[in-house]
Symmetry: C2
Subunit: 468 residues, 2 copies
């Protein structure tokens, strides 16, 4: 197979910058503050600044930018809100950061078909606000108020993927600008299709390395008639995880089932001023008709009780549920707050559900041996959990030890038929894991696909597929 040329950092050609400035005016910037804002995400990786930032308003403008970049061999890095966790938006080889925040319109809501056509810069909260009153909602919820384009690019999921699926399942169609400036439409609004290669699913999770997403058609879901949420404390993590495994194996359609270890609960109480019992906990949410929610809740309570769970503490009012999930969503920041000035090295393994208890137990032993502060939290219904390893970003030795801990946790997950990343993506940080997980031949096949669509390696170079 042909080789993907290694990207090189070059100064931005003067004529290129002048052309884009003339064309985009204030929507093109080379200001230091702007470049810095676009040169780091929520990961612990060092900043890597783009040479310039542009804010397109429509697909035609994106095409103009891409054609100019391709003509001048300038790397192109898409930017949503910068909440990625594996260095996805770092401009490792400089180039242009294409900020989609001003392409954030809802283009159409098809209530009868339960789908919406949106621009990629819209965030999940903006989308759900736009759906207010429609009786529908968009379920994928990675915690951060990420952009939908970014969520599609990393194949994001989050707390209620166990019931509603990930971005893979909830994007029906896309418009994508390819490296040569051509605009393609993938998928369609029909609920299923066997028409050719699944370009939609190829683009989902491709982290901007195959093209720029300029439009998405997403599935919506009916707001559940009834919702109930509860927390339940357990004597130890093992018993909590066993509750999860039995719930999933019984096929109970829980909407959310989240694990928090004692340290995480302590962090939340401190950060979000909650008064949760400081022990391992599961957060639950049930969606459905009143009768089915009651039935699900009762079955899960019985399972929890068999595993030493305390009584369920119900959050019956909508505002109580909101507070509960807001606290859950702030876990990352609550964790970071446990150690002033630190950054998080976040692990993201996901394993078959039968191995989850062993995988978490092993991770806990590794953390204990490492001496790090590293709370554990997870979308355990999918077999996915995170440890947030708190590091001093200015201490290279600490970062190396944290990465060694991450490697240990990943190695164990892979040995259990798991994946190195359930929902954060490969980005810049996990390329070695990608090879370990899928093998060199599969990564070579990925590289061949990349090369077929982006022969000059200009689309977010240095992410997912190593150049070699």
């Amino acid at each position: 197979m042909n080789t993907l040329s290694a990207a090189v950092r070059r100064p931005l050609p003067q004529s290129f910058a002048e052309t884009l400035r003339a064309r985009f005016g204030e929507r093109f910037s080379t200001a230091d503050a702007v470049r810095t804002h676009h040169g780091h995400d929520e990961s612990h990786f060092p900043d890597a600044l783009p040479d310039a930032v542009v804010w397109p308003h429509c697909t035609a403008e994106v095409v103009e930018v891409v054609k100019a970049c391709t003509a001048h061999r300038v790397p192109i890095v898409p930017f949503g809100v910068g909440s990625s966790l594996e260095g996805h938006i770092l401009a490792l080889y400089g180039g242009i950061s294409v900020d989609f925040s001003e392409m954030n319109k809802v283009l159409a809501i098809h209530g009868d078909d339960m789908d919406a056509v949106i621009q990629p810069g819209i965030t999940r909260k903006q989308l759900n606000a736009a759906l207010h009153g429609s009786g529908l909602f968009f379920p994928v919820d990675p915690g951060a108020d990420a952009s939908l384009g970014g969520m599609a690019s990393t194949r994001a999921s989050g707390t209620n993927a166990v019931r509603y699926g990930t971005m893979r399942d909830n994007v029906l169609a896309m418009e994508v600008v390819l490296a040569d400036g051509r605009v393609i439409r993938t998928g369609g609004r029909a609920r299923k299709s066997s028409a050719g290669y699944d370009l939609t699913r190829l683009m989902i999770g491709s982290e901007g390395t195959l093209g720029l997403i300029t439009e998405l058609t997403v599935r919506l879901h009916p707001l559940p008639e009834a919702v109930s949420a509860a927390v339940c404390a357990f004597p130890d993590v093992d018993n909590a995880v066993r509750t999860v495994i039995q719930t999933i194996q019984l096929g109970i359609p829980v909407a959310r089932i989240e694990l928090l270890d004692t340290l995480t609960v302590q962090a939340i109480n401190r950060y979000s001023k909650t008064t949760l019992r400081e022990s391992p906990m599961l957060f639950f949410e049930f969606h459905g008709s009143p009768a089915s929610v009651a039935e699900q809740a009762q079955t899960v309570q019985e399972i929890a009780r068999d595993n030493g769970g305390q009584d369920f503490d119900w959050a019956t009012r909508p505002e109580d549920r909101s507070r509960l999930w807001a606290a859950r969503h702030d876990v990352y920041f609550a964790s970071i707050n446990l150690r002033p000035g630190c950054r998080g090295v976040t692990t993201d393994v996901c394993v078959p559900i039968s191995r989850l208890a062993d995988c978490i137990a092993g991770a806990r032993e590794d953390i204990a041996a490492s001496g790090f502060i590293a709370p554990i939290v997870g979308h355990v219904g999918d077999g996915n959990f995170h440890t947030v390893i708190l590091v001093d970003p200015d201490d290279p030795d600490e970062i190396e030890r944290a990465e060694a801990l991450n490697r240990k946790i990943v190695a164990r997950a892979l040995a259990m038929d798991g994946t190195c990343t359930g929902e954060h993506g490969i980005g810049f940080g996990k390329q070695d894991f990608l090879i370990t997980e899928h093998g060199r031949d599969a990564v070579d096949a990925m590289r061949a696909l990349k090369l077929a669509l982006d022969p000059d390696n200009l689309m977010n170079p240095g992410k997912i597929v190593p150049a070699e």
Copy 2:
């Protein structure tokens, strides 16, 4: 982008045939009867015979075959059971038919994780027989007892995709032999992953044009605690379809909801010796806990009654349900039986649910104007329906008129944001529709991907992507 070289039919090189015969003995055949059996599927297209057929027993043997074919530029056409409907297994340029029927083992059943690792030649009935007693089942059910490899290759679905999804949703991982003989593993047993490009979804629906599937890991589902099935007659098709639309829009998790028009019911009564009321009908199935099944059934009955539906006729005993669904599965053969000696030209459009009533009404008008016998049946919960246009295979004028009717039905579906194929695939018959549906640039992108993985165009040439 580079060009995909057009495939050419050449005689099988003598040395190649001798090598394979020496290696595979009786598992390699050039007998006429064998070649004929592998040269046609259930479509109306003329036979196109392979030059030889081979029956591998393991991945290593598939690799040997592929390497020999690549070395001698011999086309490779995978074969499951031959139940495809768009000429997928026709050896348009000769070459080797790789028959997977002797690679049909269950390699592992992971009951706790609800997945199974299987070889591609196993059929869905064989798989479900192997799962007997496990409390689990594999839901995807295209009617025919197709092989799982074939079902993955065409992104098949069928009667209960509305609840359990299509092959896209039910394959977790694959082993694939690429055109250069390399063996890659895609996906994994974790329920979700963001690790690199989604090669699994790229292979699903690729109809053997990108590689040969030698192993699949599929999702299993818990056998529902309660199942109930019913038929309901309607005064006309419109009212039946409106019942479907309202059921889906309310988010009721029906397991199956199938439409049959009057002609189809007549065909079934004649073929399967049933005594169904000869009017438009919906067949329903509900899965869940006893309480949720009762709740679903009651809600749907109310919707049906509001749309003029007669009382539900319940099939309460398992054997009654089996007879009901066996009759539904035999629709294709029952239809063919309406006109002795005919073949079926089967349409397969799928539209957003809000357009389904209009799409079917338009198709009925087209059929009436055409003078053809063409029963309508459909997986209407997904917006997918088929017309089986009965043609005399020896009358080219009739076939052309049937294809014109198909084109009309497809054009209307595309104008309604639908797809030309919900579940049968593009194969040899729908390449023009693929371009109309996705546009030339998207099909060019598909061709670039094909070329990246199969530069010599040896993997099932002439399917999905036209050569130039």
